[in-house]
Amino acid sequence: MRTNETTKFLEVKNLVIHYETDNGVVEAVNNISFKMNRGETLSLVGETGAGKTTTALGLLNLVPNPPGRIIDGEILLNGENLLKMSPHQMQKIRGSKITMIFQDPMTSLNPIETVGDQISEVIRLHNKVSRAEAAQLACDMLEKVGIPAERYGDYPHQFSGGMKQRVVIAIALACDPELLISDEPTSALDVTIQAQVLDTMWQLKKELKTSMLMITHDLGVVAETSDNVAVMYAGEIVEYGTLRQVFKDTKHPYTQALFDSLPDINKNVQRLIPIKGLTPDPSSLPNYCSFYDRCKKRMEECKKTDPASVDVGDGHLVKCLLFASERSSHE
């Protein structure tokens, strides 16, 4: 990979997360690995149910347990394995080093606490400051996300969806995190508000030089914001590379199909091309390539083996047999 060993910041190795329910084991995340550099933005794209959110929750060790369980793998932040940490150590990381912006702002805030208190709570947890100082910092944070500080004492129900998401962003950025995970931060918002919220997030991310793991299924947002892109399908990363590699030199048939299903303003097409079929049931994944049933370029061999990720050049990883012969397997 292109990663320079000295700046390696986050490294996820062979992460496996399952949900063990009465109706069987749901294999949400299957053996995924990726690396991030400090200050980098990595986008995790994929359909609903591809395991994006579970991966993110895994990084914070917040996978709801039961039924969820991190089966295997390593998550190294600055070389330290988060999965080996005590609950107490992990609490110190959450909210200060790694923070998360959740998908639905409507339900992400405690309805009976003032927004100011919810921001100052995280400040007080990770900084040795007095109540008054924390309140002042929380006010500053509100101003930074574009909410007047006078609204410190207001409750979430007095805010609109976009404003609530700004509060959630303020909470996530209050302690100057090293890694910000944003889980579809705008998919519950109106399109006009989406742009505003993304913009705010963007400004702050740049200002604070935060690394960011961006979970989304909006390829437009990805194109605008990311350095690197990981495409997830059925709990696996099927293609990984720089923005340019994935968008301009698309290799995996699934990624290709995703782009084909998008409307293009420059092309005059009557119909978009959908990806036929459904994502496989994660409680009974096939032991061959999980995209086989929907793949347009499938071959006989595809049904025999589960392909490994291959580096097709400059750290561009593709998990497809079509490219298995091009380079040696990436392990």
Binding site: L62, Q91, R94, G95, F102, I112, L125, Y155, I171
Partner: protein, 331 residues
Amino acid sequence: MGRYVLKRLLHLIPVLIGVMLLAFLLNEIAPGDPAALLAGGESATPEKIAQIRAELKLDDPFILRFGDYVKKLVTEGNIGVSYKTQQPVAAEVAHRYPQTLKMAAISAVLASIIGIALGIISAIKQYSFIDNIISMFSLLGVCMPVFWSSLLLILFFSINLKWLPSSGFSTWRHWILPCAVIGTSMAASIVRMTRSSMLEVIRQDYIRTARAKGQVERVVISKHALKNALIPVVTNIGMHFGVLLGGAVIIETIFVIPGIGKYITDAIKNRDYPVVQGSVMVLALTNSFVNLGVDLLYAAIDPRIRSQYRNMGKMKMKKKKAALPLGREAV
């Protein structure tokens, strides 16, 4: 907020008038003749009965008697005089109500503390051994009829062990058994309510947000989850408390406690209408206050309800303004 309380207090007037009228009407249509009972039942002579009816003005038309009652209530604050003892009802209620109140208060406080604590434990240790034990006992507590558990406790603690007195109300030891019986059945229902409410709240997104801030689990539960989970529990406690204030007739009978429940049932048996009338009014009043207390407690917990109360007045003003012809509000 003050407006809201004032409005609720003013609502008491129509409620009390309604209760007064209903109680009077029910006494009117109930079968049985108080005069006949006072004259000595079966053996009474018609002359004697007629004489008593005249003394008690039972032969006057309904409207006259009701008017007379209201007049006395308003001018003298007199809620009635017992047919049987010729004593004012208010004095007797003042003498008996403290016993009922004491029993209800002790039971409710104990039941709330135990019930909420066990409910929380049960919820955060869902499906564990301790949860199963608590759930089983709470089910048992809800199902056991109080007369049966009273008798069992008396048999065990008073007769076999001779630790506690089986009846009376003079020392604190007398209160243990009746309060234990009421408290257990009430606590059982609070446990179940708290458990289900906590389980619902724990799955909410804002609990995940609190954890993602790095908050310690104890605070996540006590600050973020419990306060939100308490709202339905408070309703439950308030309802139980209201019922208890009406007198736990069975308990008062078994443990020979001169409370208000026993007073009313005896009065009904004796056709002592003024007693029924007066006590029902007192009960209606206290129940209204309990309800008001519960509603205010809601407001204390939940800011959404608080702003609802605050807006009630404003909304009426707006409606009035809207009803005016255009341009009028400028005047």
